[in-house]
Assembly symmetry: C2
Homo-oligomer: 424 residues x 2
């Protein structure tokens, strides 16, 4: 209790802009090691190879219809008064190839998706034809002229041979898997999931299983962060909480920095007697990158580096912790997964209600998006104090409110950062 | 090859509207069995219990600042000329409770997040105070009047006791986990993942490992569908392809309908000789629900039921297969996970480019959303033929183009269905 006013400045805190802090961190976010996995296991992993088409797609002239493969020239004289009859010389089911050729006066029965035979240059829909037996042959009757190329998907219609289909860093989902399977990529090279250690600090924290005790609260941030790490593409490791003891905290965090790809802590970064992470990042144990960001919530958000590994010391306030992860940790994880767009997608929306708080720092307000009549509205959460956790679950974006001396009125254009995996 | 025009109507196909088909299916989509899992394992699972707050949150008066807990009344005479000195009788770190009471003329040192002691009704920021030792006591000096309640988060500020926080069917992500942890829910009751069997049909299909063969294509739909099943919350089981043999297909699909919660097939539903699923759903093996939908792509989309289990026979065209899953199978999976909003979220956007195709059926066009200056634009994919797979990966919405005889011009308001897990 010997604290004096001098202590308030003990961190020598100089606020950085969010983008400046992101730039500092980006020096450490590099694509990580890769591994090969089966295509079936690749959902939500991140591609570590460039996918080029080994062949055009489709790679043969593909029938778009059930019907008859014909020479368009043979149909030039057709009309409902003048049926042209062609000899049906073969049939081509899907997956089979005819060894015959469509010559003048002939046609082949063909199925949707089958390879159009040599000589044919159009497919007539089955519904447009008649069939008959004539002098021992099966014949198809056509009543209408057809253009060359009709109902045939040409070679390379979707993809040319050698075309780059996907770049490294791409998240693999249904559409990507469809492409990989179509081109025979049954073993996919993906980035390994970065292993992220998570600590909470503070002896006020109960584990989630413990009964309540006076004055204490349950540790919720580590579980929340683990979920955020998973959603961002990493593998979370929840480690035992760091108590309010600097030597112990140092030992635990230093060890984690050796063993994992990055370390997140929550809590212990505010100005105060027991703000242990603040003390830690000012020690000679690590090199501090920043310990104040010009933002709300989470201005105390801190980062440091040791042997090229990042320590993210996030605020212990749930709202600030959530935002700090999305702005700083998620991009790092995305960078190790090869992403060239590691930051949250930014859109411009219309503020649906007045936002009355004013601040010298940029605010990242939890909110919900809604599109009505072509206008994208951003609806701020009712309570967005940094300490509030209950509104995180209802948010699908962060509304960016620049420093303001007056309220931001409804109807203002605001930037919104889209939260991934959100309940849109 | 004895097919006649009569065969074209052999399915007696009567197109249903999408919403009508969804209504028919909804009779079979009921919340499924539940299981208990650890909170740490609950990311992206679906809650099967109502979560009510067992206590208010915060459940004690919480200090929002590092500073001193005081009686506001004691500060009424403060000014920079007239410093009021209070005896500091205790300190309250986070997680601890003082057994003393703040009485007139006294104060307590308190940390952010700590429980405000009895008798105190405001917290003064550390930065606003001075400290001194006076006659053996530690004293804090205040220069400014403070209002009652200042820097104290009241009990129940976020949540009242008994308040319903989350309903069954909610997808558990970071925000939900934060709530569950805060209220000590370390074992979560979730819906079991529905087990979905996936078959492809057609002897034209190579497995993804096989070398190319003339006329054949690789099976990509089953892998794509497996990814869609995962994203929707189910557990996919890729079964051996069903060849073009009705008896074999019947046996395989019937067995799968017994063993799994639902069965998806892709392919074999168009009009044609080898369209085996068409034959299957018209057999007495299952009861057909519908075999034509008034939509593009995927008008041949079919569904049937056997012993209360659904068979979704989707188109073999990748684009149509993808859309059929999102419109019909995903809602079923979501219903078994307790969701009361099982369908894709619908927004209204502005069409960014002319859409030139016309059709008697509603089109679900793959597209991309973009928000510029507060306007939400929907950009249709360049090629969206039902057979095309390459544009699925770049889509984050389906643009709904109603039946039209003329092109839909740029600037039109269009409904868009938001694809989950999309690359926004």
């Amino acid at each position: 209790m010997k604290q004096t006013n001098d202590d308030f400045d003990k961190f020598h805190r100089k606020p950085l802009q969010v983008s400046h802090a992101q730039k500092l961190l980006a020096a450490y976010g590099k694509p990580g090691p890769v591994e090969q996995i089966a295509l079936e296991e690749s959902h939500n992993r991140y591609l570590a190879e460039e996918i080029k088409a080994p062949h055009p797609f489709p790679r043969f002239r593909r029938s778009g219809m059930d019907g008859y493969a014909v020479r368009a020239e043979d149909t030039s004289g057709c009309s409902s008064e003048h049926v042209v009859w062609l000899d049906v010389i073969d049939e081509v089911p899907c997956g089979f190839v005819s060894d015959k050729e469509v010559t003048p006066g002939t046609a082949m029965r063909i199925m949707t998706g089958a390879q159009v035979p040599e000589g044919a240059n159009a497919v007539v829909m089955l519904e447009m034809t008649e069939q008959r037996e004539y002098e021992g042959s099966i014949q198809v009757g056509l009543k209408r002229k057809i253009e060359t190329g009709k109902n045939i998907t040409p070679i390379g219609f979707e993809v040319d041979e050698g075309e780059v289909l996907m770049l490294p860093g791409r998240r693999i989902q249904a559409g990507e898997i469809s492409v990989l399977a179509s081109f025979g990529v049954h073993q996919v090279t993906v980035y390994q999931k970065p292993r992220i250690a998570i600590f909470s600090t503070g002896s006020e924290l109960l584990t989630v299983e413990e009964p309540l005790q006076p004055g204490k609260i349950r540790n919720s941030n580590t579980y929340m962060l683990a979920s955020q790490v998973r959603e961002a593409g990493g593998e979370p490791y929840i480690l035992e909480a760091v108590m309010d003891d600097l030597a112990l905290a140092k030992a635990k965090v230093e060890r984690a920095l050796q063993e994992y790809d990055a370390v997140i802590t929550s809590g212990g970064v505010s100005v105060g007697d027991y703000d242990i992470m603040g003390d830690f990042v000012r020690s000679d144990s690590v090199d501090m990158l920043y310990n104040k960001i010009a933002m709300r919530p989470g201005s105390v958000t801190t980062a440091a580096v040791k042997d090229g590994k990042l320590l993210f010391a996030l605020s212990g306030n749930p709202g600030a912790c959530f935002v700090g992860f999305e702005l700083f940790v998620r991009p790092f994880i995305q960078q190790t997964l090869g992403s060239d767009k590691p930051y949250l997608t930014e859109w411009t929306a219309v503020l649906a209600q007045d936002y009355t708080k004013v601040n010298a720092f940029t605010r990242f307000v939890r909110g919900r998006l809604d599109a009505r009549d072509g206008i994208l509205y951003a609806v701020p959460a009712k309570v967005d104090e940094s300490s509030v956790m209950v509104t995180i679950k209802d948010s699908d974006c962060l509304i960016v409110i620049p420093p303001a001396k007056e309220k931001t009125p409804a109807g203002s254009k605001v930037k919104v950062l889209m939260l991934k995996g959100s309940p849109l």
